[in-house]
């Protein structure tokens, strides 16, 4: 009779260990001491997998047993490997680096080479050139979508303490296309609009003003100051330092320059404040910290200020014009997100 049919008739967990050896002894020809070993090795005909057992409880049991077996084997190999390494001592081969999505990243051909003259010229003469040549200093206007709720309002206030020389204005249902010429005439260099949906901020539009590019981001994981654990006191008026991490491609460079042009040129190191834009896997993490050097090598940091995560949706050439503007880069999920190891920033 079929092995599985027989075990189904018995059906319960209690006599499992006792049953297997009996059945094994009855059915199997060759395996003599299979009762002492793991039952699965002896009991089943070849080509049988646990998922073919129809009874859910029994199937679950067989699976947990298999899993325990696997874990034991894994631990055993690990121990063996460790012993071998200790035995070899210095001659042991270096530990293999685990594969992560970041180090398996597909090489992006648009990665900027620092020695490339053409790209250097392109960057030196782009819309941010006037900031990087110290001809203009930033003046930011922060506003929201119409009728913002409390979280968004508080985020705007906190952002204006983080970014020096910034002003928050209430958006009285005005069209952005009308606001922008007024900002230009009042010498604003950047416009930040925080979009809100269902009482939480979820989008950020950053537009460089005279005629510069407009970036549209999705914003998530917004934490206001009071929601940050172990935070420091409120930030002071000192100009913070900026850290831009991991913006490697040409698009990343443009976005990095856009963030850099929000802050005044000369940071005041007395303030010991630093704003970080860290790009990892196309998500940009914004953090604001105060640091203190306890010794030559040790730094203590306190997180102040809001924190949020941004993901770039589109970069449009020219000031805000979502219908008729020309886009330099648009995120297309069905074309660009097919590969888990390909990133664009």
């Amino acid at each position: 009779m079929e092995k599985t049919g027989g075990s189904l008739k018995k059906g319960l967990k209690r006599k499992r260990a006792a049953e297997e050896p009996q059945e094994a002894a009855v059915v199997e020809d060759g395996a003599t001491d299979s009762g002492g070993q793991a039952p699965k090795a002896a009991a089943f005909p070849p080509g049988f997998s646990i998922s073919e057992i129809k009874n859910k409880q029994r199937r679950h049991l067989m699976f947990t047993r298999w899993k325990q077996q696997q874990r034991k084997e894994k631990l055993a190999t690990k121990k063996k490997l460790k012993k071998e390494r200790e035995a070899l001592g210095d001659k042991a081969p270096p530990k293999p680096i685990p594969k992560t999505i970041d180090n398996q990243r597909v090489y992006d051909e648009t990665t900027v080479d620092p020695n490339d003259e053409e790209v250097a010229y392109d960057e030196a003469t782009d819309e941010f050139a006037s900031y990087f040549n110290r001809q203009t200093s930033p003046k930011i206007l922060i506003t929201t979508s119409d009728r913002p709720h409390g979280r968004t309002v508080r985020l705007c206030e906190q952002l204006s303490t983080v970014i020096p020389n910034s002003h928050v204005y209430y958006r009285r249902g005005l069209a952005l296309k009308r606001i922008i010429p007024q900002c230009v005439s009042r010498d604003f260099t950047d416009l930040i609009v925080i979009n809100e949906d269902r009482k939480t901020p979820n989008g950020l539009i950053l537009s460089h003003l005279p005629n510069g590019p407009t970036a549209h981001f999705k914003m998530s994981s917004v934490r206001l100051r009071k929601e940050i654990k172990r935070k420091g006191k409120d930030p002071t008026e000192h100009v913070p330092e900026i850290i831009l991490n991991n913006f490697t491609t040409r698009l990343g460079h443009s976005i990095g320059r856009m963030f850099a042009s929000l802050f005044p040129h000369n940071p005041q190191f007395i303030g010991r404040q630093v704003a970080t834009f860290h790009n990892q896997r196309d998500y940009i993490f914004f953090r604001f910290h105060r640091y203190i050097f306890r010794s030559e090598k040790k730094v203590g940091i306190q997180e102040l200020g809001p924190r949020f995560t941004l993901k770039l949706r589109s970069l449009q050439k020219g000031t805000f014009d979502s219908k008729y503007g020309e886009y330099e880069w648009v995120h297309k999920p069905r074309e660009m997100d097919t590969n888990r190891r390909k990133f664009h920033l």
Partner: protein
């Protein structure tokens, strides 16, 4: 050596930084050519067209209102001429019978005598086409006929040998269902072969066909695609459909017999600035603000063939119409190359030596022109490896 191999380039692209790039898809190389040796944003290329004499010369219209002549045989710039008058950049460039036709943004269309001796002389003919011109296109079958169109500037067809009035002036479509005037924004124009018809694509995502031969001045056919302004358009080799691109980087093929969408092409991430099909092969070259030149195959099967990253924003392109893209010699002929007479080993050493020698003459030649050659990645065409 890049200069010597310039004649074999398949696609010529003009950039916002003033560099003319010649791309050889067979060898997967791109070469930069600048007139002054350095890229300059004031010389941003806004229009490209073939010069006289087959495809040996390229005329490049720059943002500083000069038209430069580039010789593909020799790989260097030969001369320039300043074309003043009106404001804005060039929206169209054409040449016929030793004369040069230019049209600028503010609507001044001028015909210049094309000789190198007189760098700036008075134009032979001047027409005022109306402000806000977005494109001026020459009819390949009748070189004296040009069409212009733009924002709030309806399509007009001009005969340069005829009178000062347009031969055909298009009429706007009827008011829409709310009885509002439909705005006009003709972004690109093409002449259909073997008939008098014209196709335009508009900034309000419409594709329209006009027929001057028919009594109606309104469009004969209208099709819409997408929600974003269409910026560039090209005819396919069979003449029955057009491929349009919009500001989001979407490319679509639209059949002109029925006004139907035939299919889309994927890959572009930025606004499409230049599109051109090869006259006989089913290949389409597209360039845009995402700094990448892509060559797609339009049918059997539809997909990406080549992708080349060119580091500046691309404004316009020209596709070489020659047939033998694959048959050219793999290595350029150098005078000092060993003749491959004796054995295969000798040939192998010769090709290796030629590759080594190619690096050194490159450095010597950079005194004259700003040229770099990068070996592009050996992956033809796959966007997601």
């Amino acid at each position: 050596m890049a200069a010597a191999g310039a004649r074999w380039n398949h696609v010529w692209v003009g950039t916002e930084t003033g560099i003319l790039k010649g791309v050889n898809l067979q060898r997967k190389q791109a070469a930069n050519f600048t007139a002054a040796g350095q890229p300059r944003r004031e010389e941003a290329v806004s229009a490209l067209c073939w010069g006289a004499g087959g495809e040996t010369q390229i005329l490049m219209g720059c943002a500083d209102r000069t038209v430069r002549r580039f010789c593909t045989e020799e790989g260097r710039f030969q001369g320039q001429r300043h074309c003043p008058g009106g404001e804005g950049t060039f929206r169209g460039l054409a040449q016929v019978d030793g004369t040069l036709i230019t049209c600028v943004d503010s609507g001044i269309l001028r015909v210049w005598r094309d000789n190198d001796k007189e760098t700036s002389s008075d134009p032979l003919l001047e027409l005022r086409v109306g402000p806000g011109v977005c494109r001026m296109r020459q009819d390949p079958a009748h070189p004296h006929v040009v069409a212009t169109g733009g924002k709030e500037n309806a399509l007009k067809v001009w005969d340069l040998q005829g009178s000062e009035e347009p031969v055909f002036r298009a009429k706007n479509v009827r008011n829409d269902w709310l009885d509002l005037r439909v705005p006009i924004w003709d972004q690109d124009i093409q002449f259909l072969p073997e008939s008098q018809k014209l196709v335009t694509c508009t900034g309000y995502h419409q594709v329209r066909v006009y027929d001057p031969a028919s009594p109606q001045r309104r469009p004969v056919l209208e099709a819409t695609y997408g929600e974003y302004p269409l910026t560039a358009m090209t005819l396919t080799p069979d003449g029955n459909s057009v491929i349009v691109g919009n500001t989001h980087g979407q490319l679509a093929e639209i059949d002109l017999r029925q006004g139907r969408l035939l299919g889309c092409l994927k890959g572009l991430a930025g606004s499409v600035r230049g599109l051109q099909c090869h006259p006989s092969k089913p290949l389409l070259a597209s360039c845009g603000l995402d700094r990448i030149l892509r060559v797609h195959r339009i049918r059997n099967p539809r997909g990406l063939e080549h992708k080349v990253y060119l580091k500046s924003q691309l404004n316009c392109l020209l596709v070489s119409g020659r047939e033998n893209w694959e048959d050219e010699p793999q290595e350029p002929q150098e005078p000092s190359q060993l003749s491959s007479e004796d054995t295969e080993a000798d040939e192998l050493w010769a090709s290796l030596e030629a590759a080594a020698k190619r690096k050194l003459p490159d450095l010597e030649q950079t005194s004259g022109a700003f040229q770099t050659r990068r070996r592009k990645k050996k992956r033809p065409g796959s966007t997601s490896p």
